[in-house]
């Protein structure tokens, strides 16, 4: 799932400075699940924005709407009437959703209200961690299902750097596990340490040609 987090309010306020009526648009999929841009967050952000502007004596009117997936034109199109009413759109969707919104309503400025951070999973209530870097060349079969590309701070393919901290923690953050120590432990448990002993040649960083495209079989 795509993880995002709200931008600093200062940035959002500045983006909205010129407008008196905006649509605060949420997305009902990934960013809802990671508490960044669902209906609840839309309500809070809109309210906070109104309070901020009213305190400045420069009221702003907000419309609120959340569609199921902002990365789908058909779903974003449902917002046509609301978009027509406003001067700008503040989107709480991931970068993909913001762009669909911007493309569909070309005459309206669309602003991102969240920073899209990574593909990840919830570790516990309210905490998400990065799991996948969408490299287009999956390596997980060789590492016991632990991605060293994103879970190792340096994205190393052939084992840990010399910076592993005591107890198998990461050089740059003692709260994070060294991915290669995790790989080691998992493979050891499975009796597959030979996988870790293998040499892996430099990665194909061009497995996905930017901008990426995936064509499914014609249905």
């Amino acid at each position: 799932m795509i993880i995002a987090e709200r931008k600093p309010m200062e940035e959002i306020k500045q983006a909205m400075a010129l407008y008196k009526k905006v649509l605060v648009a949420g997305c009902g999929t990934c960013v809802t699940v990671c508490w960044a841009g669902g209906e609840k967050e839309v309500g809070i952000l809109a309210s906070q924005l109104r309070l901020a502007r009213s305190a400045e004596g420069n009221e702003i009117v907000t419309l609120e709407a959340t569609v199921e997936r902002q990365c789908e034109k058909e779903m974003v199109a449902e917002l046509e009437d609301k978009v027509a009413e406003v001067e700008a759109v503040l989107s709480l969707a991931c970068g993909s959703g913001v762009q669909v919104m911007a493309e569909l309503f070309e005459d309206k400025p669309v602003f991102p209200a969240v920073n899209t951070t990574f593909i990840g999973m919830p570790q516990k209530e309210g905490l998400w961690v990065e799991m996948c870097g969408a490299c287009g060349d999956c390596f997980l079969d060789r590492t016991g299902g632990i991605c060293p590309m994103v879970r190792c701070a340096k994205g190393l393919l052939n084992g840990p750097c010399g910076g592993t901290r005591k107890g198998g923690k990461c050089e740059i953050d003692p709260d994070k596990d060294c991915a290669w120590v995790l790989v080691y432990r998992r493979l050891e448990k499975q009796g597959r340490l030979d996988l870790m002993r293998q040499y892996y040649t430099p990665k194909n960083f061009r497995a996905v040609k930017r901008p990426g495209r995936v064509q499914a079989a014609k249905a």
């Binding site: 809802t32 699940v33 508490w35 669902g38 209906e39 609840k40 967050e41 959340t66 919830p122």
Partner: protein, 550 residues
């Protein structure tokens, strides 16, 4: 269609002198949606409720606001009036103009009273009925554990006509109940005999609970017994899993670490001492015995009792000199005060110390050194036997069991962190109860109280064979729920699970019987998918709106 809201204003028999009811009534009548305003004195008395029901019918009201005393006090009375008049009880909203308005302020508060009624009217517009249903429940009760508390609970449950299953992980019942027999004189073995002979009681030994789902009245429990998996339905679950003790060697309580201790029997537990006292083949007669207890941060009811019993027995059997080093002698359990006096009378010496005694091995004897707070000086006693502090722990597997039911443990790993709302035997999950030693250091009186409380609660819950449940009062809208699992992770009552409604996609499903209507899920839901009738977002915001307009 515009709601037809009837407002009933009660002056509480003239108990609210600082409100001008006529003026208030006139103002309330102007609030949008108010169909009629009724000033009725003593609304909660029979005459008042009859009038109220009549007005509800006559005016064909669909929502009702009662302005008067606190809803904490009379809400149930007025809900009944609505039900009698053919309206759902949840279509009532109360304005607390007595405790929180008239009585709380001096001077005229008519305006505030009108404000409060307005808040209630705004909320009332948005009220929706909540369906009630009688749900058949299982009259079987699962009692986990096989010790005294478990067996005694099962016997009591059987006596009130419920059908308990005693689930013991060991091969026989009562394996750790010997202490009770010793110190309290309970005849545990004949209780076990009675339980085993009771047709209402099922005893499953060498068995463990491995999974549990469902809610009060309807738990589905998986039991592993001799490699076989059994699935059973239970209406309630009682944990009576007890505690275990560990000698406080090497635990920072000042005792020599195990490897430093002289040969084994010099430092013993209460239990070992008891065995020595009752061993007909031994001729050991320790001349001097020292007891040390009460220096951990735990309660010391159990060690007090064990010490007194053992000290008295040692006096009698061996005529030993006995010194007890302790911080406090807790005599708040039944009969302990008497034991304490007896012990003193026959020469047991109690030394009250604040600091932990220092213990050293000297010439094959154990020297206990401590400052007696009354004498104000150091006392050294050399003894042949030291009965050391024992620490209480939950039995092994307690944590695993609690996680099966998603129940929190206290900081020491026992059940029940003494939350006043649940104390003593209820848990955060309806239908799950704890009794006895699994709650910590309890004396026998408290254990018996636990058993009574739990049995009474379960009897109340299950005896009628049905529980009246409010259906979908709290519910995740299948259209809006994105199955983010947030509510499942946060529900303190374990009432939300991932499920499918009519074979649809997976969403959060709230079990009506398990839900305790706190609304935490509704607050956290990032998709705003959870509706909580009576406390929906729009209902709360409508009240804020009303205040804003005042």
């Amino acid at each position: 269609m515009e709601a037809r809201i009837g407002v009933f204003i009660c002056n509480c028999g003239g108990g609210m002198k600082n409100i001008d009811f006529d003026a208030a009534g006139a103002k309330v009548a102007k609030i949008r949606g108010v169909t009629c305003v009724n000033l009725i004195s003593d609304l909660c008395l029979e005459e008042g409720t009859e009038k109220m029901a009549a007005r509800i019918r006559a005016e064909n009201l669909d929502k009702v606001v009662v302005a008067g005393c606190s809803p904490q006090f009379k809400e149930h009375v007025f809900r009944n009036v609505l039900e009698n008049a053919g309206l759902d009880g949840h279509l009532l909203c109360m304005a607390n103009i007595r405790e929180q308005c008239s009585w709380a302020h001096d001077g005229d508060v008519t305006e505030k009273a009108v404000d409060l009624v307005k808040m209630a009217v705004y909320k009332a517009r948005l009220l929706r009925p909540v369906e009630k249903q009688d749900i058949a429940v299982d009259r079987k009760v699962l009692v986990v554990g096989g010790g005294f508390s478990a067996v005694a609970s099962a016997l009591r449950l059987s006596r009130v006509g419920l059908r308990p299953t005693v689930l013991e992980k060991e091969a026989v019942l009562g394996t750790s109940s010997e202490e009770l027999q010793r110190f309290y004189g309970f005849d545990v073995s004949s209780m076990i005999g009675a339980a085993e002979g009771d047709a209402n009681i099922e005893v499953l030994t060498s068995a463990r609970m491995t999974a549990a789902k469902g809610a009060a009245g309807d738990f589905l429990v998986t039991i592993m017994r001799e490699g076989e998996e059994i699935s059973r339905k239970y209406g309630a679950i009682v944990f009576a899993t007890g505690y275990r003790t560990e000698l406080a060697l090497d635990s920072g309580l000042g005792l020599p670490a195990e490897n430093e201790a002289v040969s084994g029997p010099k430092i013993v537990s209460q239990e070992q001492l008891f065995d020595m006292l009752n061993d007909p083949f031994t001729d050991t007669k320790p001349r001097t015995i020292g007891f040390v207890f009460g220096f951990s941060d735990e309660n010391s009811r159990f060690p007090t009792l064990a010490t007194l019993n053992n000290a008295l027995a040692a006096k009698k059997e061996w005529d030993s000199e006995i010194y007890v080093f302790c911080r406090d002698v807790e005599v708040d359990s039944e009969g302990v005060e008497k034991l304490y006096r007896e012990a003193r009378e026959c020469g047991v010496v109690f030394l009250k110390c604040e600091a932990l005694p220092r213990i050293a091995v000297d010439n094959g004897r154990i020297a206990i050194e401590a400052e007696d707070v009354f004498l104000g000086e150091d006392t050294v006693v050399a003894c042949d036997l030291l009965v050391a502090e024992e620490l209480l722990f939950p039995t092994e597997g307690t944590a695993a069991l609690s996680s099966l039911l998603n129940i929190r443990l206290d900081s020491r790993g026992f059940y029940q962190d003494e939350n006043v709302h649940l104390y003593p035997v209820a848990s955060e999950r309806k239908g799950v109860f704890f009794v006895g030693g699994c709650r910590g250091d309890l004396d026998m009186g408290r254990v018996l109280t636990d058993i009574s409380s739990a049995v009474m609660s379960i009897d109340k819950l299950l005896s009628s064979g049905t529980i009246t449940a409010e259906i979908e009062r709290v519910k995740a809208d299948p259209q809006k729920c994105v199955a983010c699992l947030t509510c499942i992770r946060v529900c303190p009552h374990g009432a939300v699970q991932l499920g499918r409604v009519d074979g649809g996609k997976e969403i959060a499903v709230i079990a009506d019987l398990a839900c305790d209507a706190c609304g935490i899920c509704a607050a956290v839901c990032p998709a705003k998918a959870i509706d909580f009738q009576g406390y929906r977002d729009d209902q709360l915001l409508a009240q804020i709106e009303a205040i804003g307009e005042s």
